[in-house]
């Protein structure tokens, strides 16, 4: 895969952050804050909670930037995982009723290729989209709702109006089909 300038820049900023370079850390924040804030806000749904998540996540990124090299992930993926995990922690503590933006979820799953961005991420996003398209509609919907809004199995069951066991099966089978599809895509380099 071609090295991507944006991902490379983020990786550089992360490695300088690991050396306690505050200017690099600020650039890293400015380059990713709106994406990551949106990721959290879709899950926690309250701005003040998303602000807390973003703040805690970046303090964690500052403290653990030296772990990044070992993760062998794309920088944005690594940072997104930190934000998602913290958002899911917060959601478990606070949420009673999930608040779903159905249109957004569908738009995100159904829309065409990702806009011009990092070549690496674009090709990953492209594969993921292609493989999502191969799923049954209900599998796709369940996975997208869980991913974008942090819904649990039971919240999904309630939202979709299907039995819990059915939802669990949709998710599990959908994920395994995605894995097989993505593995194929990686092999063929398509």
């Amino acid at each position: 895969m071609t090295a991507d300038p944006n991902q490379e820049r983020l990786a550089q900023l992360l490695s300088r952050t690991a050396l306690a370079d505050r200017a690099a850390f600020e650039q890293l924040y400015n380059a990713t804050r709106s994406k990551l804030f949106a990721v959290s806000l879709r899950i926690v749904r309250e701005r003040f909670l998303a602000e807390e998540v973003l703040q805690d996540s970046f303090v964690s990124i500052w403290n653990h930037a030296s772990d990044y090299a070992r993760a062998k992930s794309a920088p944005l993926t690594w940072m997104t995982a930190i934000v998602r995990n913290r958002s899911l922690d917060v959601v478990r503590r606070t949420r009673e009723e999930p608040d779903i933006d159905e249109a957004l979820t569908l738009a995100l799953v159904d829309e065409g290729a990702a806009p011009e961005r990092e070549a690496l991420a674009r090709s990953d996003a492209h594969h993921v989209r292609t493989c999502l398209d191969e799923l049954e509609p209900e599998q796709r919907q369940s996975i997208a709702l869980a991913f974008f809004h942090g819904l649990s199995h039971s919240e999904l069951a309630q939202h979709i109006g299907r039995p819990l066991g059915t939802v669990k099966t949709h998710i599990r089978r959908g994920l395994m089909r995605m894995r097989d599809c993505l593995a194929r895509a990686a092999v063929t380099g398509d």
């Binding site: 949106a38 807390e52 993926t77 799953v109 599990r172």
Partner: protein, 238 residues
């Protein structure tokens, strides 16, 4: 729990990344992941597969106060100095890098303490080593510093509490003694006073009766907090 392998490892990793693995199962899985590099690698793989799903989603701008709060929490690392009062480990151990709680409290107190009159110039929430908020210090125009002790410290007979300004460079400077009881101590001080120049943080230490004999802190620090300017923050309380 036995170490998951093969299909089970993949299924658990996938649901962990997707977020549908919840509660105790999630905690257990995180513990297994920490002890099992192969499982952690499986999770990294799923992150790489699933996370790009959100790449196309539009971003949303967070408010500027988020960065200010992050900056305040990571600031001590930059100012590592030979003195124990400014070393990174010291500040970490005293909870200056603690979680969102302090920030939420800060905003709350900023909100409470600002009104039509007497808007403070800055506020600091002083927290203990275990992140308990112990005091709130606010500077009121033009020359009044209010130190509000939330809860008194037990077993402090024969000790005085002394309030210190921690500057970005040099040794802490004493602002005077504080009563060890819930309530306010008011200290008159001009904003131009050289003791508050370059102030980054405030701290309270336990000293011999009457205060430190050396003009520098000698006793243990009881609580500390970064100073936050409040004029902008006051209009947008959380």
């Amino acid at each position: 729990m036995r170490r998951p392998t093969g299909e089970l490892a993949h299924a658990l990793a996938a649901e962990y990344v997707l977020g549908t693995l919840r509660g105790r199962a999630r905690r257990r899985f995180e513990a297994m992941m920490a002890a099992d590099p192969a499982l952690a690698q499986t999770v990294r793989g799923w992150e790489a597969w699933i996370t790009p799903m959100g790449e196309a989603a539009p971003g949303i701008e967070p408010p500027a106060r988020v960065w200010r709060a992050i900056e305040a929490r990571v600031a001590p690392a930059q100012r590592a100095k030979p003195s124990i009062w400014s070393s990174v480990g010291f500040w970490r151990s005293w909870g200056l890098l603690t979680g969102g709680l302090a920030a939420v409290l800060l905003s709350f107190f900023v909100y409470l303490s600002t009104g039509p009159r007497g808007e403070p110039v800055f506020v600091a929430v002083l927290t203990s080593a275990t992140s308990q908020p112990m005091g709130v210090v606010s500077m009121h125009s033009p020359n009044l510093l209010r130190v509000r002790v939330v809860k008194n410290w037990p077993s402090m007979q024969g000790k005085s509490l002394e309030l210190w300004v921690v500057p970005d460079q040099g040794a802490p400077r004493s602002l005077g003694l504080v009563r060890n009881e819930p309530g306010d101590t008011l200290i008159t001080i001009l904003p131009t006073d050289p003791r508050v120049r370059g102030a980054k943080a405030l701290a309270i230490s336990a000293e011999p009766p009457g205060g430190s004999p050396t003009r520098e802190p000698t006793g243990p620090m009881l609580c500390s907090g970064m100073i936050a300017p409040v004029r902008q923050a006051a209009r947008t309380p959380i």
